[in-house]
Symmetry: D2
Subunit: 264 residues, 4 copies
Amino acid sequence: MGTQALRSDMGWSTADRITVRGLDLCQDVLGQLALGDFAFLEVTGRKPDAAESTVFNAILAVLVEHGMTPSAMVARLTYLGAPESMQAAIAAGLCGMGTTFAGTAEGAARLLQEALPLGTAREYDVAGTAARIVQQHRQQRLPVPGIGHPVHKPVDPRAVRLFAIAEENGLAGPYVALMQAISQEAERAFGKPGQLPVNATGAIGAIASELGLSWKLCRGLAVVSRAVGLLGHLAEEIEHPIANTLWVRTEEEASSHLVPKEPQ
Amino acid sequence: MGTQALRSDMGWSTADRITVRGLDLCQDVLGQLALGDFAFLEVTGRKPDAAESTVFNAILAVLVEHGMTPSAMVARLTYLGAPESMQAAIAAGLCGMGTTFAGTAEGAARLLQEALPLGTAREYDVAGTAARIVQQHRQQRLPVPGIGHPVHKPVDPRAVRLFAIAEENGLAGPYVALMQAISQEAERAFGKPGQLPVNATGAIGAIASELGLSWKLCRGLAVVSRAVGLLGHLAEEIEHPIANTLWVRTEEEASSHLVPKEPQ
Amino acid sequence: MGTQALRSDMGWSTADRITVRGLDLCQDVLGQLALGDFAFLEVTGRKPDAAESTVFNAILAVLVEHGMTPSAMVARLTYLGAPESMQAAIAAGLCGMGTTFAGTAEGAARLLQEALPLGTAREYDVAGTAARIVQQHRQQRLPVPGIGHPVHKPVDPRAVRLFAIAEENGLAGPYVALMQAISQEAERAFGKPGQLPVNATGAIGAIASELGLSWKLCRGLAVVSRAVGLLGHLAEEIEHPIANTLWVRTEEEASSHLVPKEPQ
Amino acid sequence: MGTQALRSDMGWSTADRITVRGLDLCQDVLGQLALGDFAFLEVTGRKPDAAESTVFNAILAVLVEHGMTPSAMVARLTYLGAPESMQAAIAAGLCGMGTTFAGTAEGAARLLQEALPLGTAREYDVAGTAARIVQQHRQQRLPVPGIGHPVHKPVDPRAVRLFAIAEENGLAGPYVALMQAISQEAERAFGKPGQLPVNATGAIGAIASELGLSWKLCRGLAVVSRAVGLLGHLAEEIEHPIANTLWVRTEEEASSHLVPKEPQ
């Protein structure tokens, strides 16, 4: 096993040249490839065209900033303890981008890609596939990933907008169709009209599939986006810190039942 | 202390509306604000203009991908152990974006901003300031952050390109001038012509300062960029894994002197 | 949801007293409770008796040090980049203690506790339960967690020793019996005598169950133990660094096919 | 650089034997070496004697549990998002064991070891050295690490107890004497009698130095101890979760000024 060669095509450099994914960093990338497009290059090996760029940046943008999320609280509390290591604060915040929050985009993309593998010819029965998927989840009493939202009802406005952007850019294909059909079928089968719309993570899973990205990378897209958002929260924390107050308050409340009352 | 209000301006949402940094996510951001520009919005509170966007994305792009760095190795080795948690693999890789690698952009920006605080009127003696800075570091036998590179000599092509992009976009101001003067003065004072060019991190520190970004955020910029690069490495690792080979080989070599030789 | 009280029984302090889990830190803990016993107190809320202490420390000890594992490599490579943050280096190394390496102790404990819930009366058919478990895994073509090892055959000496320690201390009860029965049944059913012994993680899962620890905590035990081991690796790395060599070599090999050959 | 051999003495294994730090895991460690003593073995390469074991476990125990600290909050909030990855929750919590909280033990040990290098003959002027150290910090307007505490005055009971344990075990030598002298000198020089006692981190730094541990490892000791404490907090969080409430409340309060009031 140890004799296999280690090999990577990501990049290399010499004294006067740095190459990334086959492009000359100084000539082809700097000043020409924006961060989101660079992310597309990193995961696919090629630059996006204009339509892909718009759509890919849109799904990344959805996940950047959701206000005072657990990940933002974590980054701020970690920075309080280790201001010398902003990298550790961002890393700590990202550690929680797991099954609960980022897992549903992954789950939705997986569902779609298992029904219709990436790179296959795209003739198939959308309604029948949707019905089968909903039925399977129903039988196993599992939630269908990518549909429903506790707050955003009867539609998740982010999903609506993402699908419109995909449509405008010619990238609303079979995965978008299937995701929408799953929502409709689920509302019908569970008898919950207007209650199980495609949510933001379902839209992301569907559109990432349209872009040819493996479901295994969907969680990673959320991580990259949230890294941007956490930097924003740390910038605000540096200017207007709240982590110490959050700590002191939480500590006082959580242990107040333990502390003996002093006699006066 | 615990009675102070917790307050953040980053974002909020209701059933039909999500707002980030004062913008409506669906109307103003999705499809319109690319990831790099969103990062600018997050750290400054406003959208970049076209020149700022080009320059800001350029400094982010420099840091995305440097081939098989320690951070890329860390992300791959972590994914080997915890494929269920891509977020943890990226987070682990980011934990090493510290003083050794990302600290020099921070150090360069700090140096520049301590000489010329952000937001101040910009009349000052460039050459004299550069001479003073170089002399101080020389006396304390400290390296001057942002200049010199073990490989890229007599110039770091990334710094050259970044400064050209800043110049083309009207953003090569006093910080760029000071960084360049420091390099020239250091080469003169240390008697090392062509040996102490502004390097990529020096250029990033100078240009981040031109954009009004606190030196405290420079490490965070590197972290965000590298998150993108680590996603790329994990995408490659999923397709063409090397982490297991790297482990087996390293383990065998590192402990071979300990293992008793078997009699034949 | 936000109106529920935050409450924790872990600890509190006043000017002259620090209490942890109901014990006075200075009077009852310092000098009296060793680290492993403190870990027992933290997860169970009470001090271990002598037998529990021996057995619990033994399962922790198994997981501390396995030589140059991926987690050790990760800690060293992260320290190379961020020597200012040893906490980040250890944290990065721990991020990979996931499904691949630490997940099997968790899986074994879960299997056992689903067959025989913690705290239930302990009359049950060991052989029949083992047969049912093996058959279920066989039908679903899933590996049975806790048995088999690529190197340690026909027995894993660590499991043998752990079970002996549990036995000597009166803590080899129904979970140990079931784990051993599963191994025997699996060797029989798969026709692999001497190939599917209880491995170290199986023994840990069984003994943790004897101690009344939820399977949900088993991965955490591995994490705590490995934190100790990673500190050891960093101590060695500080004295005899290898991370830089590991990086340089890996980078050279991985990208050598990309770098154009220079004309001589 | 890449041709140097990779070498580690930490451990190795064959089919029937696992060796750690020169000891046979099954024969010499399991059932015999408790977790804290294993930590001593890992960082020093030898087993502690009884006195060293008591003292080393005592300094580890101080750092395990401080109630609802930022690191505990971080671990809980991370577990909320990624319950599949307890390792990531603990890692995230550890990321904040940095300069603010764990840095002072490191700083105190460094101060002491720079005054009196590890392994040197131990004849020196304690009072004079203390006076010099205090004066240097005073001139540079830097706090002296290891003394003073916002709550624990006029003495920190943990430091008092740790020094007593060191004394009882014959391990209160020149570093403990110097740390105490620094406290006395600082109270005199700053005119703050009873205000600048040796605090817990000062005692840890001094005692770690007595044990021959480099100041570079002190932060790591805090990390290992806190890993134990975070496992305890996660065990409580699984039984009695508070992270979701903490999140919802914080989010509501932090963004309430942004959300437009609905007309009734």
